[in-house]
Symmetry: C2
Subunit: 253 residues, 2 copies
């Protein structure tokens, strides 16, 4: 299988490297910034291209791995591509690719990608959507090279997954950041929280979060809730978040 990668950002880099490691040929890399395309192409033994017109028509798959609002415009420039075209976004409808190629689809990795952290794709859920059985077959084959965890998800459900991921990942990381801020303001090192963060995530590996909720709100421990709110009186934003989330937890009692 021969793949072209459109994009050279975080996700594009992780995907291209993972494909290359699994002996899938990454033929070409394109980026708005040619220098970035060169850098990534170099790492995966591909050719950087300056223009989308140079795309290899022999390639089986073209993956559009760019910012959500750039997908439609790039897709239009790929009109007439002979292979399968897929984007990798959680929030963009598959039909943005309709009319661009005969076979199209979505290849959405439900994971958070960081620049400097190596990621094992083996258990990354790959959410696939395709416009026909041929496209689905190709996407499944590609997914199978990377992960044992691929699943068909339509555009509507994919949007829900993307939203749920904001709660479970982006908001969660922000809570880590707020706790780090609290510690820093009191000359305490964030490192002391790391075993707790790790265990909190580990707990839901085999349980449902509702079943393992702990803390003053779920116990309705008004005394502790009040003490905590008093500690946050000088930080109205933290106080608002504390109250909002505590009230939300109480409703699950």
């Amino acid at each position: 299988m021969k793949v072209v990668i459109i994009g050279a950002g975080n996700v594009a880099t992780h995907l291209a490297k993972a494909l290359h490691a699994k002996h899938v040929q990454v033929a070409q890399v394109w980026s708005y910034h040619y220098q970035n395309a060169l850098t990534l192409a170099n790492e995966v033994n591909a050719k950087a291209i300056e223009s989308l017109k140079e795309i290899d028509q022999q390639a089986d798959v073209c993956l559009i791995v760019v910012k959500d609002d750039a997908i439609a415009e790039i897709a239009q420039q790929l009109k007439g591509f002979k292979g399968l075209i897929a984007h990798t976004s959680g929030a963009v409808n598959m039909e943005v690719l309709s009319g661009v190629a005969e076979h199209y689809g979505v290849f959405y990795p439900l994971q958070t990608f960081s620049k400097h952290k190596i990621l094992n794709f083996a258990d990354v859920p790959l959410c696939l959507e395709a416009n026909d059985t041929s496209a689905l077959h190709t996407l499944k084959e590609l997914a199978g090279k990377l992960s044992s965890n691929s699943t068909e998800v339509n555009s509507e459900k994919r949007k829900i997954l993307h939203l749920a991921a904001v709660f479970a990942c982006n908001f969660t990381n922000h809570l880590y950041a707020l706790s780090a801020e609290l510690l820093k303001a009191n000359d305490l090192d964030f490192a002391i929280l790391r075993p707790l963060i790790s265990e909190t995530a580990a707990k839901v590996e085999h349980a449902l979060p509702l079943d393992v909720q702990t803390g003053p709100a779920i116990r309705n421990d008004e005394q502790t809730l009040k003490k905590h709110e008093e500690l946050l009186l000088q930080q109205p934003q933290l106080l608002e978040i504390y109250k909002t989330l505590s009230n939300s937890i109480k409703k699950t009692r």
Copy 2:
């Protein structure tokens, strides 16, 4: 070293078992419910006691591992205990034990404990506070049996740690629960989010959360934020949390 455990709940059980596993003698267990004391005592080769008056005056340490608002009352019943008395709470001042014993302190494990999940104490941060050097020495010795990660923290800072832990653990787990709720309402399985949750926690093992924040709010991606808010129009509580946390993230840009 000979230890008495007051309490037979989640934390008491984990602590007693961990001490027993490290060959620290758990001499006695007391609980409001004698049956619970019996069960735990049985597991750690200790004697269950029905009354606090039966406490072994030869014990080196008495650990009060009960609900926060019960600590003071139980401490009063232990007045005159010859060894060291410590409680294990994040939110209760050490001075609640003043006048109860000559040597007293706090032994606060900064971790989340679940009934059915075995926990490795080796890297649990144990936050110690003591009223004198003798008590500190004893607490350090006890902590050293369980974990390589003990540190001195005074009552004021311990309260901040406890509050930060609510953000990093209790609130985080609630966000997992909200994402699970979103998925369930759309016939999606929570399992698909688990690799993301695990990676989100793993990312801050070597980085600070502020440096690895991702998602639409930190990119100020108004289009996606709007789409997400539209998806939540029928769930005002989730919408409020979405807006509150997204706004809080934007302020860190």
